[in-house]
Subunit: 354 residues, 2 copies
DNA sequence: TTGTAAGCGTTATCAA
DNA sequence: TTGATAACGCTTACAA
């Protein structure tokens, strides 16, 4: 069926630049210029060429263009394995919008897990099919063998700290946000706190936990009533944290989570076990995903401007692709507290008998 | 910085096939063969070549390969605008896994909305950068001008009915599932029902609403107590449906939703207004997204095997790409009822005073 | 401002 | 089985 030279559905061979050139009575070079550097061709000629392009429905062969020009106008966006998660799509969409508007195509994929898949993506950038890379959430992949960081294309990190520095970075103020989370509970009178974090070495968790501890310290709180649970940002690990909570005696009254999904998993688990929120336990999340407003009770959380995170990151990459040098200092975007119904005053002493 | 011939970070020029050929003492043709048609080269030679490839860390230039071979090994997956939704990621991940395993790279993007973005994607397939297309949920985009369906590359539809037929299609049994939803409520004694659907002309909604009505008909139920609300599958439209419900007198006691997100938005809205679920209203969703288990009460719904949907669709496309002809009859995958806590017996007559 | 011509790096044909 | 050679379709010096 699809043997021989590539053919369109009607059986005719695809239009080439020469076809346009002949039809417009100019050379191929002029067509190319009219398309790529309109300023370099006389308006009159340009118009005639463009009209012919439209009439013949010509689309330049992209691989040929990429081969010759040495640039594929394609960007790889590396997302974490937990792409199923509710946080990243908004970031990715914003990146896509920005890249598209500038003539770039986006490929998304995970560099973690699935060895085989990851390898293919990395190869793609070494294969000169990719002009730039955006790395979300520290998922630059295992560093054995070749790395996307060494492929000689510009790399931008969003919400991540790369192992090799010198790459532009866009962050939210994790530490300040974690302080805001914790102080919110502290202000409500909570003194026994549980911190439900991500993997211990995860960039976000390092900074958020640091913020949590600092808020504790500033409140001159003894660490006697403080617990920490290591999750992985997912609903499932929120459930695990809930089970952990249920076994504690006395139980914490305030729970600081490093992601909304963990907070939601936690909430469901403890309320299913009969613990009332926010009367008996206050829970605060991080991210402000769509579902945060729809769980029961609606989740108090930290709003992250996800679209902005993506848009800014994409813009920085585009600058690099144009050859402009970029600032080396991380760009920091601020999150903010959104108070809803999952947090309330700490239960009074008397009601603590569990 | 990145002017002149493309260079790797260390300043050296990328390895070309000729470099490998020289280093291995063979011709470029042999290297190419060793890589692409291993059977066509003597084992001994092949080994020597492969070793050199590894030693020099050679990756074939993909645009060059695509230009010469006429195939870019890239597939476009067209997702709906509501990609932010919780349903598609699992489908897309399954597609990606299948494609990757077969040497294809996946590009995702929406052909709806954002005129400019969509146009770029369609152009990409006309630009011979894309070998095949998978269309999810009827989002083949506006048909004015060029369409991905006419680009001369194989197209597979998942959970969609394309305007032009002749393309392989993978579906779930929407109608049967909607019957199962409705009968579940009917069996629980509900007689006043609200149907919360997607856009009226949407493929899925047409079939689901048909199933809903058939179940009603089979139960010999008068349509007096039946209401229909047109949503768009999103959380927000679930909220709107909830507000609609709250104004009804008498209120329906059973609500059939065409997506989990609408069911969750609905649930939150009516329970916030003091309506108890499932005591006063039973709600059933469609999809079985991750959050279905985590809303309050946990959502009774139709489980869709999302991974299978994607995997099967991808396999069909891969067959087409190999040139194998494929069956013309739609492949139908079965969904199944998952009973959780949002549905229960219809309230008794006496308690209906609202 | 436009045309000529030389590649970009690979694969496939054909001959050896 | 392997090697020389001619494309694939486009861009860009350079020349006119």
């Amino acid at each position: 069926m699809s043997k021989g030279p590539p053919t369109l559905e009607n059986g005719s061979r695809p239009i080439r630049i020469l076809d346009v050139a002949h039809a417009a009575g100019v050379s191929a070079a002029t067509v190319s210029r009219a398309l790529s550097h309109p300023a370099k061709v006389r308006p009159e000629t340009r118009q005639r060429v463009m009209e012919t392009v439209r009439r013949l429905d010509y689309t330049p062969n992209e691989p040929a263009r990429a081969l010759r020009a040495g640039t594929a106008r394609m960007v790889l966006v590396a997302v974490p394995n937990l792409y199923s998660g509710a946080f990243f799509p908004a970031v990715v969409n914003a990146i896509d919008a920005e890249l598209s508007a500038n003539g770039y195509t986006m490929i998304t994929g995970s560099l973690e897990g699935a060895e085989e898949k990851a390898r293919r993506l990395v190869d793609l950038v070494y294969a000169r099919q990719i002009d730039g890379v955006i790395i979300l959430a520290n998922c630059s992949g295992p560093l054995e063998g070749r790395s996307v960081l060494r492929a000689g294309v510009p790399v931008v990190a969003i919400s991540a700290e790369l192992r090799e520095n010198g790459h532009p970075t866009v962050l939210i103020d994790d530490e300040a946000c974690a302080i805001a989370q914790t102080q919110h509970l502290l202000n409500l009178g909570h003194r026994r706190l549980l911190y439900v974090g991500g993997p211990n070495k995860h960039y976000n968790d390092i900074h958020r936990y640091r913020g949590f501890r600092q808020a504790i310290r500033e409140a001159c709180l003894s660490s006697a009533g403080i617990r920490r649970f290591e999750g992985d940002f997912t609903l499932a690990s929120g459930v695990a944290a809930g089970l952990f909570f249920l076994r504690e005696r006395p139980r914490p009254t305030g729970v600081v989570c490093a992601s909304d999904e963990m907070a939601i998993g936690f909430l469901k688990t403890v309320t299913a076990a009969g613990v009332k929120a926010p009367q008996e336990v206050s829970v605060i999340g991080f991210d402000d995903i769509e579902f945060a407003e729809f769980c029961e009770p609606a989740l108090t959380t930290i709003h992250q401007p996800r679209g902005e995170l993506g848009a800014v990151g994409a813009r920085v990459l585009l600058q690099r692709l144009k050859g402009d040098p970029t600032v080396d200092k991380p760009i920091v975007i601020k999150g903010e507290l959104r108070v809803r119904s999952s947090s309330g005053p700490a239960p009074s002493r008397s009601s603590l008998v569990s």
